[in-house]
């Protein structure tokens, strides 16, 4: 479904040149959920931005559904690929009601029957029709993220790019959103690319994942391998270690 090979993303030139993504290749099958894991500055979000055309691609190819993506991206591309952003407070226009936010993609693509589709989209993400005319400031973080998911889903895309969709949310809300995403994928046969710093979140949602560090791929592995700890690189192992929480035992080792 999604085929990225030897992707390079470079910002700036000369002394200010930053190689944000170096030679990353990813293959995602239709209906698969694929994870990109790494810490800040690992380039994982930049990969998503490069797919959507928000980041400058300096080399490599990106293909969706077997077709190389056009540059600049056209409307047909945006009907196939949509994205959900990390910060539910920043991804909704503060002066637009939920209704306006959801009507916008329909208007851009000249879709009919906006009325019913907006209500249906809200129902799909578990929001009652009474939310339709609220402003973002009248919604909680989880509700905002649901609206953002509804906005991404309303054009019926095939690929959904998820950029840390739950890292700004409380744990209990995160569970709800993860369940929603999982269910949407199963119901609609979507392909996911999930970016997260949280190994547990990625392992929960994805089958395969790529660990990234400093813009380069460290290793591709599976959720099962993560769970059993059978990973190749020491970096991945240190990430697994850190995700278990603070242990005074490891403090001893490091101090001594």
């Amino acid at each position: 479904m999604l085929d990225i090979s030897n992707l390079h993303v470079v910002y700036g030139t000369g002394r200010l040149r930053v190689d944000a993504v170096k030679d990353v290749s990813v293959r995602v099958a239709p209906g698969e959920a694929y994870g990109l894991v790494g810490e800040s500055g690992s380039g994982k979000s930049t990969v998503l931005r490069a797919i959507t055309g928000l980041a400058p691609v300096a080399g490599g190819t990106i293909a969706v559904g077997g077709q190389p993506v056009p540059s600049p991206r056209n409307k047909a591309f945006y009907r196939t690929v949509q994205m959900v952003f990390q910060d539910p407070y920043g991804s909704l226009h503060p002066r637009h009601t939920v209704d306006q936010t959801l009507a916008e993609p329909l208007a851009i693509h000249g879709e009919r029957d906006a009325e019913n589709r907006i209500v249906a989209a809200l129902r799909e993400v578990g929001l009652a029709p009474s939310f339709r005319f609220r402003y973002p400031h009248q919604l909680s973080g989880g509700q905002r993220q649901r609206v953002a998911i509804a906005r991404a889903m309303i054009l019926r895309p095939k690929v959904l790019l998820l950029d840390e969709p739950t890292s700004a949310l409380d744990a209990s809300v995160q569970a709800e959103i993860l369940n929603l995403l999982d269910q949407l994928r199963r119901d609609l046969g979507l392909t996911y690319v999930l970016v997260s710093h949280d190994l547990a979140v990625v392992a929960h949602l994805c089958d395969r994942l790529l660990v990234m560090q400093h813009g380069a791929a460290v290793e591709e592995t599976t959720a099962a391998a993560l769970r059993s700890g059978q990973v190749g690189s020491p970096y991945t192992r240190s990430l697994i270690e850190a995700s278990r929480g603070f242990t005074r035992v490891s403090a001893m080792q490091n101090a001594g």
Partner: protein, 303 residues
């Protein structure tokens, strides 16, 4: 340091350190009884903290809760940093026997930053961008030791930077906050806050702006310094797993109240449905459920 390095997180009572007072035998470092924080807003009164009570010795106390649980406002109220429309009331709010509610501004100022300090979430916003890290640490030190000379302050600051494991303290000393990474900034912040040798440190989400591997390092440093100096520590966080693995005791807050108090390591014995729900809804690598159990909030908890 601790003898039982073979086991999982230890409790502080077993620690042999002589400077550490047993929290129960002496007067508590911090006493909080029936603390309320209210915000009188245009749209009505928001009751952020509703009747919180606890006593803190020279130990590590964790306060866990989701956003809006009042955990951060608790930390701020103790330091007298509640932002303007807020009102703090309590039956008793005392630090080392000094009543913080009736203390003079001057007395409060001396306590704050001197004997009790706070480390905030993001060093980007809590360090002054136009002063070098060294100058800021020196200033923090001299503000509470006015008779200290420049040389002494400098030595003390460099020692402090070394204590937070900066690889090259002399170089970091001369750097501006934007020239260091998030983890280094947070360690500089800790150095600045601990240079006055405080008795109580309140850390409000000290690592949530940092990457996991870096945050473990920062926590390790914090842990060492706190045990070496026998300080009281309040760690405020949303991360139940992290707090319970770091602290001796954990207060679980919801809607401004304490739902449950837990001993560290006794997380699996949590009785309250909120705590249990919080724990279960986290995906884990050790094998989680699908779909994840979600938390049903009982309105009775907020009563």
């Amino acid at each position: 340091m601790d003898k039982n390095a073979d086991s999982m997180p230890t409790t502080i009572g077993e620690a042999p350190s002589s400077i550490r007072h047993s929290p129960l035998t002496t007067r508590p470092l911090l006493e909080v009884e029936d603390l309320h924080v209210r915000f009188h807003l245009r749209t009505g009164t928001v009751h952020a903290v509703r009747g919180l009570s606890f006593a803190l010795g020279r130990e590590r106390l964790g306060i866990v809760g989701e956003s809006g649980s009042g955990k951060s406002q608790t930390g701020r109220a103790i330091l007298g940093l509640t932002p303007p429309p807020g009102e703090v009331t309590a039956k008793r709010l005392a630090f080392d026997g000094i009543d913080l509610l009736t203390a003079s501004r001057r007395q409060l100022r001396e306590l704050r930053g001197g004997r009790m300090t706070m480390v905030m979430q993001d060093p980007k916003f809590s360090l002054n961008p136009v002063m070098t890290i060294g100058d800021q640490i020196m200033e923090a030190y001299r503000a509470h030791a006015p008779r200290a000379g420049r040389g002494e302050a400098r030595d003390k600051s460099l020692a402090m930077l070394e204590a937070v494991k900066m690889r090259d303290p002399g170089r970091v000393f001369a750097l501006y906050p934007h020239e260091v990474s998030g983890g280094m900034g947070q360690r500089a912040m800790i150095a600045m806050m601990l240079v006055t040798d405080p008795d109580l440190l309140i850390a409000d989400e000290p690592t949530s702006a940092l990457d996991v591997t870096v945050s473990m390092e920062v926590l390790r440093i914090l842990d060492e310094l706190v045990s070496e100096r026998g300080m009281g520590l309040i760690l405020i966080s949303h991360d139940l797993k992290l707090v319970s693995s770091f602290c001796d005791r954990v207060l679980v807050m919801y809607a401004g109240r304490v739902m449950e108090e837990l001993r560290a390591g006794a997380l699996h014995q949590a009785q309250h449905p909120y705590t249990q729900g919080l724990m279960r809804c986290l995906p884990t690598l050790q094998g989680d459920l699908n779909p994840l159990p979600t938390l049903t909030r009982d309105p009775a908890w907020t009563l």
